[in-house]
Symmetry: C2
Subunit: 160 residues, 2 copies
DNA sequence: GAAGAATTACTCGGATAGCCGGTGTCCGAGTCACCTGGG
DNA sequence: CCCAGGTGACTCGGACACCGGCTATCCGAGTAATTCTTC
């Protein structure tokens, strides 16, 4: 159960765009170069972020991607949902109703499967923590430990 | 990022074995039949549970699997770790150090990557919830809502 | 010199292969239970 | 009737194919900037 590589890339890209305080777009090529990532595949991930409403894409020459919301309004949960989807990792297939379960009265299945409930509860704790962390939070943490990051980002994307 | 099907199967199997209060082994064929699962593949998952120390296998005729610990001492975290492994879903590849990161001073990377920290914190919340739930807990919940489950399990595995 | 249209170059976007891990299956080694024969 | 040996059948365990999704790539549609021509 490994998470998609695209999640890590996406968070770092959003972080980079947050460091630029302007609204000028940044091309996929620039973003890929700044992290040494495959250009075309990164583009695919960015498209997912656009579909999820986290980024806005500007076509044409001098086009690229811009943040669609403020960094304070983008949570890690949003990013994970954009790349991995909104479905739960644990998918209950109701095997309790198969085999010997067929002999049980239907009333036994009125309540949700206890296994599914426990798994879902745990996963909700995970999502809760993800939803509590925003891109702005991470930017603040990184700034306090490595103040040069913002300057490097602006330089890498051709900002004066 | 979908969790292995084997996790659901394993929890239900452990639950079934918990309902039998004796130490007589149950064969893979019986377990598979009671949930309508593919025999050979279920056996593969059970082997993982044996390696993780959750089950004990008894070879030979009239052999099978028995719980290696009390249901109170088997957590959902143990089951997930046995099937999925103990590695974190989010794997930081330190892309912050690639590309433009190479121009940053080494001191900027003394602290752990803020993205990784946030992801790991969230995942720990998830694991914490999994570790807090035992097979005995789930059995108790199921018993309170569907008292016939234990009887059905004993019947399916040839108990008087 | 200014305006407008055609051209150009650059961008995103979706459609197209490759590869790894989960899914599913099979057969062999090993062990216990049972049966048989003898004492 | 009791016991020992051999046989048999059943079990787990690991080795072998199959498939879906993530990974990676390419090329085309579309747009903005640029350039050239004309007034």
């Amino acid at each position: 159960m490994r998470m998609n590589q695209g999640v890590e890339w996406s968070v770092h890209v959003l972080l980079s765009l947050a460091w630029l305080d302007d609204d000028e777009p940044v091309s996929t090529a620039s973003l890929a170069a700044s992290y040494e990532l495959p250009v075309a595949y990164l583009n695919k991930q960015l498209q997912a972020l656009v579909r999820a409403g986290l980024l806005r894409s500007l076509p044409g020459a001098r086009g690229g991607f811009v943040l669609a919301r403020r960094p304070e309004d983008i949570t890690l949960m949003d990013v994970v949902a954009a790349i991995e989807g909104r479905e739960f990792a644990f998918q209950c297939t109701e095997i309790r109703q198969h085999g010997m379960g067929q002999e049980a009265p239907q009333s036994a299945f009125r309540r949700k499967c206890a296994v599914d409930s426990a798994m879902q509860h745990a996963e909700l704790q995970w999502r809760k923590a993800l939803a509590a962390k925003t891109i702005a939070d991470i930017r603040a943490e990184a700034d306090s430990h490595a103040p040069s990051a913002a300057r490097l980002a602006r330089k890498a994307y051709g900002r004066a």
